[in-house]
Symmetry: C2
Subunit: 344 residues, 2 copies
């Protein structure tokens, strides 16, 4: 099985395999590209070749694990975590020096289309809207398990043709801990609010709308910007204008504009950088907001958003060494370039 481990210095968690022999790296599917093209288990009509679905948006009357769905969620066949053991937090080493948690959690695949589409930019707006709705449904379902603290939703596009399924999909990993970068955001937002009685993200949005230099596009409900201190060239973020800590509270009628912003930003990035590997990651509130204690203020001080990270330039020594990034094209130039890409 797998194990969650905490680095005692940085506080960063990682997942490793503790089986004796690691034959296939967990979480990665190593199937030859041609095979996957010929024989894609994510396509409609092949439902029985995947683990049974956890959820699907389906035509009324259609049965689970049969055709008739628009978006389908399945447990990852190569999941890095699972629910088949009891959650166990354990110190290991002398005096329990190192902190671990067994590989408790949920790892799901969101199949974003019944058709064999291999690039997110080929999905219709209607379909992306449905995918966003499914994210909300799954997060709401997963948070019923009070042992899980966070659900991270992300998408890898154009990475590892060798190792990953090509059929459009995103992933959800729900864990009994809050990932470090989210913890940092929560803590930073909390400190800012304590000092100023304002949300730091709302202030950033206001600042960016005022100067407009780094705005890629601004809609009625969502804005897209190139962050002031972007780590990667052409990195962008999508923020709701309205203060809200939790993505699952976004009203259904707003998801269409969000789908539009997501699709157009990705398409502009893809066009400008000639289809680079690209991630997007949803940053939303953790599941568990205890009545008292640290997270009490999260509703007022946190603000959900989406990060879109094209890896035009891969992180190298300086980046890994110092968590310090060199990103030559200024975010202002990046925003301008992106604004100027002809939309489709």
């Amino acid at each position: 099985m797998s194990e969650l481990r905490k680095d005692p210095i940085s506080g960063r968690w990682m997942i490793t395999a503790t089986r004796k022999e690691v034959d296939t790296p967990i979480g990665l599917i190593t199937v030859r590209k041609e095979e996957r093209e010929r024989d894609c288990p994510f396509c409609e009509g092949r439902e029985l070749e995947t683990p049974p679905e956890a959820f699907a948006l389906r035509k009324e009357g259609s049965k689970p694990d049969t055709p008739g769905w628009a978006v389908r969620v399945i447990p990852s066949k190569f999941g890095v975590v699972g629910l088949n053991e009891e959650l166990e937090r354990k110190g290991v080493g002398d005096f329990f020096f190192f902190d671990t948690i067994n590989g408790y959690g949920v790892h799901e695949i969101v199949i974003e289309s019944p058709l064999h589409i291999t690039h997110i930019s080929k999905l219709t707006l209607e379909q992306i809207e449905k995918v966003l709705r499914v994210y909300q449904v799954r997060l709401n379902e997963l948070k019923k398990n009070s042992l899980l603290k966070y659900g991270l939703i992300f998408r890898n596009q154009g990475y590892g043709e060798e190792i990953s399924m090509l059929h459009v999909h995103s992933q959800i990993i729900a864990l009994p801990l809050i990932p470090k970068s989210i913890k940092e955001e929560l803590s930073s937002a909390k400190n800012y609010y304590e000092e100023k009685e304002r949300c730091i993200f709302c202030d950033i949005i206001k600042q960016e709308l005022y100067s407009h230099e780094r705005i890629v596009s601004a809609g009625d409900k969502f804005i897209v910007l190139a962050p002031f201190a972007s780590r990667f060239p052409f990195e962008t973020q999508i923020f709701p204008r309205k203060h809200e800590c939790d993505f699952t509270n976004v009203p259904a009628e707003d998801l269409r504009e969000l789908a539009e912003k997501l699709k157009s930003t990705i398409m502009k990035t893809v066009k400008l950088l000639k289809d680079p590997p690209l991630n997007f990651v949803l940053h939303t509130a953790p599941f568990m907001v205890p009545e008292a204690g640290f997270w009490l203020t999260i509703k007022q001080d946190y603000h959900w958003h989406i990060e879109i990270l094209p890896h035009a330039m891969l992180a190298r020594g300086f980046e890994w060494g110092g968590d310090f990034y060199i990103n030559p094209p200024s975010p202002e130039a990046a925003a301008k370039f992106l604004r100027d890409v002809e939309g489709e």
Copy 2:
């Protein structure tokens, strides 16, 4: 010129170019491989084709910028920072919302051999020892500028054949700020010491030597281990057994064993992973240790070390999204594999 910018949420700094037109990404040299092979300005005899040297280990009597050197340090021709402007810390935006520093600093290239060697594993132990000595000399020189707070020494091996010089070299970037990951280490080490009156790194070393599971090799003065919560498969760290916060205080007679550990670890990694892209980064104390305040205790609570990061698997969505890493082969397995590689 370039600009240092701080992300208001994470506290992470980055460098960007603020020139109107970014033609060549700063810090990256885009020269065709064949040209660089034919015409390498890092080779002995071509000293006049580089900026004048900042320092060189040379034969007695030989003049600067002429042949006769063993290790040569030059300012980077495409430096991301420089000293040609006054240091200026500036808030930008309404109410100085965003924090910036102009691109003040030093960016140097350490040419590690007069010969056209293109892989660190081809350097002799004697030569690597000299390179380590030069790191100490340069850090001691750079810290005389009291505006600089940190000197980050790192090496990219096997990255970007397209964009980087092939002749063996490492880089030093000295900045008027402490990079985030070093700040985190300092702060974490300080908290641990305050609680326990012990250095957290010394405790890790003791723990690892006791269990031996993650030890790759242990010498009289230095040990090499696979960290308990490694971010990347086959990541390793080299620690001095003796508590010391500052690499420049390592006595000359210890550098030979350090060179041996560095070379053998890199060679084992290269052999095992078939010459992967690889970084190493020196983590040492910051330059500025004010008499009072936060860093007062650094001598007792920090412990310098070297991180060696092969990128057998590149970071993807989950990693960037959460600062949370999936690393299937356990560090215990990695250490065992590395121990078992036949040395040379």
